[in-house]
């Protein structure tokens, strides 16, 4: 499952940032929503990386930036090690490498078109069909375990179930022969009993087709089940990343702890009371210092003023939290130093954090 090949990662993001500007009130005061701030991420072939976060954490915007549906305010993308020139130009070429599967299978299929249309279009656009177009469409359906394909090819979306539709969505994404597959909450709209089928499909795409997959979810248990490594996002930032089971078994960031205690888990006898209360900050004016500090049960003085650096807790496990630095090293200037001696390794986790831009006002 793990892949330690020293190839260039299929897709790498460095310092991706998205600020939405909006006009506020009659006086046209401009506001800025810090949807995603300085996120770096590496997606390696044959791995599933999960992003876990609540709504408003910026995880969907991040996926759309990676798919180049949303233009980043700052940051760079590297596809197979090559820098991507952002802009409208080359979008189509990029789309043939990086595909995004959306959350709602009912909404992401046009109700007026048959399944055939949804699959023929990407084949035509990217010239990926074999000699026989019909056969290529059927192959796609078989790849996502919709067989016999004849049963599905002429159906309208409303004639299929949610699970089947989500498979068609995956088939549509696979039609272009991508190397990177981004899945934005692909199972959250599906019935519980068919979720595992789709999760297993994603796992198979990783194992058999060696795709680099980003799995975005709010369900930390499914991330643990499917992913090799997990990144936790809070208020537009990645605050912790580690190998999947490491993260759920020994979380290093208080927010991850909070998420874990909130997730339903029948195996524990009684739900642990939540360590803290409150809501994520408004992204128009995120709190100074650590964005989690207003809710953090362990908040210290430094948390209120200086954003914590990503601290390497263990090999392949880093958390952006002052608690993880020895007391003597909790100095503001540490936020630009601590990331330097970072250990890289672990499945699918080749994280690089450009911390310099973090200190800008």
């Amino acid at each position: 499952m793990t892949d330690n090949a020293s190839l260039a990662p299929a897709l790498e993001a460095r310092g991706l940032t998205k600020h939405f500007t909006f006009r506020h009130g009659l006086l046209s005061r401009r506001g800025r929503v810090h949807a995603v701030d300085d996120v770096s991420l590496v997606l390696a072939a044959g791995t599933v990386t999960a992003i876990v976060g609540e709504s408003g954490s910026g995880k969907s915007v991040l996926a759309r930036m990676l798919a180049r549906i949303v233009m980043p305010s700052a940051g760079e993308l590297y596809l197979m090690g090559e820098k991507v020139v952002l802009g409208q130009k080359g979008r189509r070429q990029y789309a043939s490498e990086v595909q995004l599967v959306l959350q709602d299978p009912f909404a992401s299929m046009n109700p007026v078109h048959r399944v055939r249309h949804s699959l023929v279009r990407p084949l035509r656009i990217h010239h990926t069909a074999g000699p026989d177009l019909e056969e290529s469409v059927k192959d796609l359906l078989r790849r996502v375990a919709l067989s016999p394909p004849e049963r599905f090819i002429d159906k309208y979306p409303h004639e299929l179930s949610g699970g089947q539709l989500q498979r068609v969505s995956f088939a549509r994404a696979l039609a272009v022969h991508p190397h990177v597959l981004l899945a934005d909450e692909p199972v959250s709209m599906l019935d519980v009993s068919i979720r595992l089928g789709v999760l297993n499909l994603i796992g198979d795409l990783r194992d058999k087709e060696r795709l680099a997959i980003l799995y975005i979810t709010h369900d930390i248990a499914s991330a643990r089940y499917l992913a090799d490594s997990i990144c936790v996002m809070y208020a537009g930032e990645i605050i912790e990343r580690a190998a999947a089971s490491t993260l759920t078994d020994s979380p290093a960031h208080p927010y991850t702890e909070l998420l874990l205690s909130a997730a339903p888990d029948p195996a524990r006898g009684q739900p642990t009371p939540l360590p803290t209360r409150g809501a994520p900050p408004r992204l128009v004016a995120p709190p100074p210092g650590c964005r989690f500090h207003p809710r953090c049960p362990y908040v210290m003085e430094i948390c209120k003023t200086t954003p914590p650096p990503p601290v390497t807790v263990d090999a392949g496990h880093e958390a952006s939290c002052w608690l993880r630095l020895p007391a003597g090293e909790r100095r503001p200037e540490a936020s630009s130093q601590a990331s330097l001696p970072m250990v890289r390794g672990g499945p699918g986790l080749h994280a690089r954090k450009e911390v310099a831009s973090r200190n800008e006002p």
């Binding site: 609540e54 709504s55 179930s161 949610g162 699970g163 089947q164 019935d191 519980v192 009993s193 068919i194 979720r195 595992l196 089928g197 999760l199 297993n200 796992g203 709010h218 369900d219 930390i220 248990a221 499914s222 643990r224 089940y225 499917l226 999947a244 089971s245 759920t248 078994d249 909070l258 998420l259 874990l260 205690s261 909130a262 997730a263 339903p264 888990d265 029948p266 195996a267 524990r268 006898g269 009684q270 739900p271 009371p273 939540l274 209360r277 809501a279």
Partner: protein
């Protein structure tokens, strides 16, 4: 099918004690469960491990089942305060009873049978969870029972009764299916209140939170003065963890979680005896969901209402509910105490559903969920509706629909022919 609830109410403690040996006899586990015994010691005391003949490699399921046995053998105030600390359920505790309820969409031969022969009973101070996937009829069931179901929904049979426990009207029974519109209006909100999934749509965007409370109190508590109404609204809001100064806010100024809290406060404004929650936390984030559920349990303990909690998230219900009913294709297929259901599901659907939630601990192993997809209500297969997806389907399942019957003398019912005694029960359904 009817009358099961009335006749077979047994003291829960007895049930647990007597059922313990039955749980131990089966030790064989499903294939491919890797060892994860390190999770056992911290949760299961020594006594529990002793009852297991030999420590077979068992996954998280084993760890839990041994803990469950422990609880069954020694009835002590256990981890589930809702189950052990509250008085054991008895017939007197019943506040809301649904018997043999059937609900159709449409009339005549083209009608869809959305709910068939459902029995449910809500008891004072207890949480009943109703789990099911989309189209299972779980929402239809409660909307039909409270007669809030819209056209073309029609109640086609059964009875729904509310047993009033209010001081001064003890023993008063209201038949909801025979009640007049006026009587229903009186009961709703003051006796039975419903919280919907989408609080955003339920609150009027142009009125303040205060006026929402004011409207309710004015309509049902005529004697209250304006000042008392305001005080009561502030009190209710504080009760659900929102600062009283938010009363003057409009719904859009509140977060999703706060709006849902306001809905809960509104539902509790008249101190109803029955609170029905239809996926109240589905649209919310996990942390907010957990906060609200903690809040709800606290309120239930303080106010003692009966709660019917509808959700598709069975893993959440197991932590929250005292008792769980599982619906599939319009029928209740299994009903049991929450930990019993988790520990030893008897219906293949429940078992599959429980196996659809990846665990938070232990080795990750490949899980398969349930094959196929939920049936369409317009074309429910003959016999058992779960048959096409069932691993253990028999010939009989294709012709007869199994009824919900009590098992092993327990407060545990399942609608499955595997437990009729004619065939050997598969190991995973006999734990």
């Amino acid at each position: 099918m009817t009358g099961v609830w009335d006749d077979d109410v047994v003291e829960a403690a007895d049930v647990r004690a007597s059922s313990a040996p039955a749980g131990i006899t089966e030790t064989q586990d499903g294939p491919g469960m890797p060892a994860a015994l390190e999770t056992v010691p911290e949760t299961a005391p020594e006594t529990a491990l002793e009852t297991v003949p030999e420590p077979v490699p068992g996954g998280p399921a084993l760890a839990v089942s041994s803990r469950g046995r422990d609880k069954g053998a020694v009835v002590t105030p256990s981890e589930r305060p809702g189950e052990a600390l509250l008085p054991a359920p008895s017939e007197d505790d019943a506040v809301f009873e649904i018997c043999d309820l059937s609900i159709d969409y449409g009339l005549g031969p083209g009608a869809l049978h959305a709910v068939r022969h459902a029995d449910l009973m809500l008891r004072r101070g207890r949480v009943l969870g109703l789990a099911g996937e989309s189209g299972s009829g779980k929402s239809t069931l409660v909307y039909g029972a409270t007669r809030l179901l819209r056209q073309p929904g029609v109640v086609s049979g059964g009875s729904v009764r509310l047993y009033s426990r209010r001081r001064g009207e003890e023993g008063r029974v209201v038949d909801l299916l025979a009640a007049s519109e006026r009587e229903l209006r009186r009961i709703r909100w003051s006796e039975i209140s419903v919280v919907l999934q989408s609080a955003l749509n339920a609150l009027n965007p142009v009125s303040t939170i205060e006026s929402e409370f004011d409207d309710v109190l004015k309509a049902h508590r005529r004697e209250m003065s304006r000042k008392t109404r305001r005080e009561r609204a502030a009190e209710l809001l504080t009760m659900v963890g929102i600062n009283a100064d938010r009363l003057r806010d409009h719904p859009h100024e509140l977060s999703g979680g706060q709006r849902q809290r306001v809905m809960i406060a509104l539902a509790l404004a008249l101190e109803p005896q029955v609170v029905i929650m239809d996926e109240p936390t589905t649209a919310l984030d996990v942390v907010t969901q957990r906060e609200i559920i903690e809040e709800l349990i606290g309120l239930r303990d303080r106010l003692g209402f009966a709660m019917l909690f509808i959700t598709h998230d069975l893993s959440l219900l197991i932590e929250l509910a005292d008792e769980i009913a599982v619906m599939y294709a319009g029928r209740i297929v299994e009903r049991a105490g929450a930990s019993t259901l988790y520990r030893s599901p008897r219906h293949p659907y429940t078992h599959g559903l429980l196996n659809s939630f990846p665990p938070m601990h232990g080795e990750t192993r490949r899980m398969t969920g349930i094959p196929g997809s939920p049936p369409d209500l317009a074309a429910v297969p003959a016999g058992c509706a779960f048959r096409p997806r069932c691993l253990y389907a028999m010939e009989r399942c294709g012709t007869e629909a199994p009824a919900l019957v009590p098992l092993d003398g327990e407060e545990h019912e399942a609608a499955c022919f595997l437990h009729s005694g004619d065939v050997a029960v598969p190991g995973e359904l006999a734990r």
